[in-house]
Symmetry: C2
Subunit: 200 residues, 2 copies
């Protein structure tokens, strides 16, 4: 067994936010590191024909209720941002910008971004708001972050990460791999745990 598990998520995914509260602790319980891979799930949605969850008739109402209920169970603050779903490109770029030099700091940034969106209900779709959060989290000026977010190399890097996730079969958020074993959805974290305890 490898020494890591892979955690794929979209910054605009509320179930990804919930999983982000749990995944590191789950990994640590099994002496693993969780590697975080923000992606843009819209690319997969084109293949699966999926629509943004909360806009789907019947299912959207259920999901909205379930999100609040599940967050209460976890004791995690939760609200939907006013603008939802939102574009997660700037947030994902910011993560990979920081991960290139400091992966632990990139995770901190990811958690701060998620908290801003789904605990505070504020905007993380604009480069400006992402830069301000990154500045506060990483101790870099917002202008430097903004410049970094516009770097064509960073844009390519995110594009490659999104394609790699797609090729690996990631069609939803959150999506977790233990080796080649795939688990989709926040509600599969207990299965991930059982798998790590020796499979079945």
């Amino acid at each position: 067994m490898a020494d890591q598990l892979d955690f794929y998520f979209d910054f605009s995914s509320p179930y990804g936010y919930l999983a982000a509260q749990e995944i590191d602790a789950l990994a640590v319980r099994h002496s693993l590191t969780a590697r975080w891979h923000p992606t843009l799930i819209g690319a997969a949605f084109k293949q699966t024909g999926s629509q943004p969850l909360l806009g789907v008739p019947m299912k959207g109402d259920y999901a909205q209720h379930d999100l609040g209920r599940t967050a209460r169970r976890l004791g995690v603050p939760f609200q939907l941002p006013k603008a939802f779903p939102f574009m997660a490109v700037a947030s994902a770029r910011a993560f990979y910008w920081r991960a290139a030099t400091d992966e632990a700091d990139a995770k901190k940034l990811a958690k701060a971004l998620y908290r801003t969106a789904f605990a505070d209900g504020a905007d993380i779709s604009s480069a400006q708001s992402v830069a301000e959060i990154a500045s506060a989290t990483c101790g870099v000026s917002a202008d430097d972050v903004l410049a970094a977010l516009n770097d064509p190399q960073l844009k390519d890097l995110l594009r490659n990460e999104v394609n790699a996730a797609l090729e690996r079969g990631v069609f939803g958020s959150p999506f977790i791999f233990v080796g080649d074993e795939a688990f989709w959805g926040f509600d599969r974290l207990p299965d991930v745990e059982a798998w790590l305890e020796g499979g079945w």
Copy 2:
């Protein structure tokens, strides 16, 4: 709290089959009766824009793997019928035919139908095969079952049950209600259990 929980499912739903192995025991652990409500989920799929799961790119492959893996964890035999997905109208009608006189027997029939489809991988889409299973399970001649399945009143009854499920917000299979609290999906059975233990 009422003395029952409501278990909605489609006979062509493999996750419904898995839930059917667990739901009665779960209910009994909480001194409840599980009321079974077969429905035809296609009506809801028209509203949600959902496609039959296993035919969806990416998601279908994952689901097929997940079904085998989950059945192994439960120690439940599992295979997909050769013809899949299949029409569950005859099976659903047979359930309500039997439930009108003997609900316990109707559950036995439902389990036999599910077993034929997803343990043996055999056909339960035709009225003839359903009648044979019902005959063996309920001690009624297959011809009598066939005649019952063609009764216009039974057809109306199923139509009403499908509409009632739709109005209640059932958009997937399995789908469980504890009072008005809705839970979608086999992987939410632990949540149903936690809810019954006092909510959160």
